[in-house]
Symmetry: none
Subunit: 203 residues, 4 copies
Amino acid sequence: MRKMPKQKRSREMVERLLDATAAALAERGLDDTTTNHIAEKAGVSIGSLYQYFPDKDALMEALMVRVSDRVSSVFREHATKLEYVKFDLKTVSNYLILYGIDAIRNDPVSQEIMKSWNSLPLEKLLDPLEKFFLSMAQPYFVRHYQDYPIQHLEGKLYVLINSTLLTVARYLQSAPNNAITEKNLAHILSDMIVALLAPQAKA
Amino acid sequence: MRKMPKQKRSREMVERLLDATAAALAERGLDDTTTNHIAEKAGVSIGSLYQYFPDKDALMEALMVRVSDRVSSVFREHATKLEYVKFDLKTVSNYLILYGIDAIRNDPVSQEIMKSWNSLPLEKLLDPLEKFFLSMAQPYFVRHYQDYPIQHLEGKLYVLINSTLLTVARYLQSAPNNAITEKNLAHILSDMIVALLAPQAKA
Amino acid sequence: MRKMPKQKRSREMVERLLDATAAALAERGLDDTTTNHIAEKAGVSIGSLYQYFPDKDALMEALMVRVSDRVSSVFREHATKLEYVKFDLKTVSNYLILYGIDAIRNDPVSQEIMKSWNSLPLEKLLDPLEKFFLSMAQPYFVRHYQDYPIQHLEGKLYVLINSTLLTVARYLQSAPNNAITEKNLAHILSDMIVALLAPQAKA
Amino acid sequence: MRKMPKQKRSREMVERLLDATAAALAERGLDDTTTNHIAEKAGVSIGSLYQYFPDKDALMEALMVRVSDRVSSVFREHATKLEYVKFDLKTVSNYLILYGIDAIRNDPVSQEIMKSWNSLPLEKLLDPLEKFFLSMAQPYFVRHYQDYPIQHLEGKLYVLINSTLLTVARYLQSAPNNAITEKNLAHILSDMIVALLAPQAKA
DNA sequence: CATGAATGAGTATTCATTCAT
DNA sequence: AATGAATGAATACTCATTCAT
C-alpha cells in the first residue's frame, strides 16, 4: 500500500504543472515561457511534464479550462450566497461585474491571461464561461419571466455575455491609461444588460 | 535621374511590404509567414525589409494600423454616401454591422486576423477603430441630441463599440458552428446599441 | 512455492522479451520501436527488461543471434530431411537458396531486418550464419571429396557464403523494382557456387 | 563583380560540408555525429548547413553519392590507363579488386563508411556503383564475346558485382581478425568471376 | 525481483536578424 | 540604398535508463 494512491499523485502533478504554467506565464509572459521553464518552475523534469501533457498547447488549454472552472465556481458560490435570484437584474449584474473585475485584479494569473489574450487558446476559456453564465441566467429568468420577454433570449444572452466579458477584458488590458473608472464601466455594462433584456423597465 | 523623391519611394516600399505581408498572411496563415517569405513576396531582399521595419513586430503593427485605416475609410465612405446622419440609430447600426461582417467574410486578410487574434497586436487595430467610431458617432448625436441623453455618452460609446467589435470578432471566430445567424446577431447588437443610448425610444 | 527454478524463469523472460522485440520490430519498424514499447508488448515493466538486458543494443544483438539460430536450425532440419549430402551441389544450393528467400519473404521480422540492415548489428547475424553454413558444408565435401578439390576450401566457402547471403539480402532490399526474378537469382547463385568449387564439373 | 562567382562558392560550400561530414563520421562514428558537429567541423554555422542541405539524411546521401562518384572515376582512370580491355578477365579482376581494397584501406572516409554501413543509406552508394561496373564490363565483353557466353550476362554481372562489393565490404569490416589474406580474397573472388562467366576457360 | 514514475541529456531544425559586399 | 549568404540562439519533444518503493 503506497502512501499516496496513484490517482491522487497524478492529480497533484497536474495541479503542480498548471500552477507552474500560470506562474511562468505571469512572470515571463507567454512568448518567453518554454516548456522547460515550466518544468523547472514545477520542480519536475521536462520528461515528467510530457508524461502528463502531450504538448505545450495541451498545457495552455488545460490552464484555460482550469481558470474557467475556478471563475465559474467562484461566481456560483458568490451568486448563490447572495441569493441573486431574488434581486433585480441591475443590482445583480452590476455587483457581479464589479466583483469579477476585482477578482481578476487580485489574481496574477488572470492578470497575465488578460495581458496575453493574444497567444492563448481563449476559446477554451470563453466557451465554458459562456455556457456557465447561460446556466446561471436560466433560473433567474424563469423566476422573473414576467418582467423580461423571452424572445431571442438565447441570442441576447450570447451577445451580452460575450460583450461583457470581452469588454471587461479589453478594459483591463488597456488600463490604466483609461478615462473610465471601474465603477462607471460596471454601471454602464449593467445598464446595457438591463436595457437589452427589459427595455421598458429601465430607469 | 531620380524621378521619384526619396520620401515617395520610401512610402511605396512600405506599402509594397505591407501588401506582401497581408498577402502572405492570407495565403499561408500567420504561423507559416516568415520575414523571408514577406520579402520574397514583395520582390525585395530581406535586407531591404529591415531597412524599413526594425523588426517583425513592427511589420505586424503597421499592418494592423493599415487595416484599421482601411476599415475606417471604407466605413466612412459607406456611411457618408448613406447619409447615415439622417437615419434612425437602429437602421444605421444594423446596416453597418451587417456590412462589416460581410466585409470581413470577403477579405482573407481580415479573416486571418480574426483567426489569429492570438499572436497579433490587436490593440493596434482596436484602439484606432475605437476612436474612429467615436468620431463618427459625434455628428450623429449632435444632430439627434434631442432623442438621446448625452449623459455618460463617452463611456457608453466605449462600451458599445468594444462590445460590438469584439462580439462580432468572437462570433466570426467560432463560426460556423454557431446557432445564431448573422442577421440575428446584427439585429440583437443594434437593439443593444439603441437600448443603451435611447432606452425610451426602443421599438 | 517456487515451481520453476531460477534459471528456467530467467530463460523464459529472455524469450518473452525477444519475442516482444521481434513483434515490435515487425509491427512498427525499427525506428518506432522503443524499449518501452518492447516491455509493454512483453507484458513486463521496463525495469524488468533492464534486469535482463543491459541496454537496447544488447537486446538487438540477442535478437540477431536468435534469428541466426533459428535460421540455422530451420536450414539444418530442412537440409537433413532432404538428405542433402546425397545430391549434387547445384541441386542442393539452388533449392536452399530458393527456400531461404521464401522464408524471409514470409517472415515479417526477417523482412524488417532486411529493410534496416542499416542500424542493426548485422555481424551478430552474419558471423554465426557464416559458421553454420561452413559446418554444413563440411560433411558434404567430405563425402564428395573426389569431385571437388579441397584447395582453399575454407576461403572459397567464406566467399561463397557471404556472397550468397549478402547478394540475396541486397536483392530483397531493392526489390521489387528489380529486373531479375527470384528463380533466376537462385539459378545464377547456385551456378556460381558450383563453378567456383567444381569448375570442370559444371554443366 | 564578386571575387567568386556564386556557383563556385556554392559548390565549395557543399564540398566543405561533405568533407566535414566524412571527417565527423570517421572521428565519432555515425551515431554520434550530429548536424551541429558537422557544421562546426566545416567551420560553418548550423544555419548555413541547412541552407545547402534540407536535412541530415540528404547530407548522408550526398556523401554516399560523392563516394560512389569518386570510386567510379578512380576505377575508370585506373582501368583505362591499364587498357584493361586487352587483358584476360582473371588478371583484370584480380588486379582491380586488390586495387580497390587498397584504396579503401587508405581512405579514412571509405574506412568509416565500411565501419558503419549499418546506419548509412548504402543503396545510394551501391546502386550507382553497380551501374558503373556494369558499364565498364560492357566493352570488355563486346571485345571478348568469343570467350564468354552472353547468356544471362546481365544477371550474372548483377550477382558478381554485388557479391564482390559486399564480400569485400564485409571482409574489411570484420578484419583484422580474419584468417584470409587480402591477396587470397582477391584471388578467390577473381576466380569466382571467371568461373561464372567463362566456366570452360578456367584454369 | 518487479515496478513504472521520473529523469534529463540530447537533437534536428527554424527563422529573425546582421553585415560584408 | 540594396543584397542575400551567413548566423546561431532558441525550442519542443524523445527515449534510453535509473532507482525509490
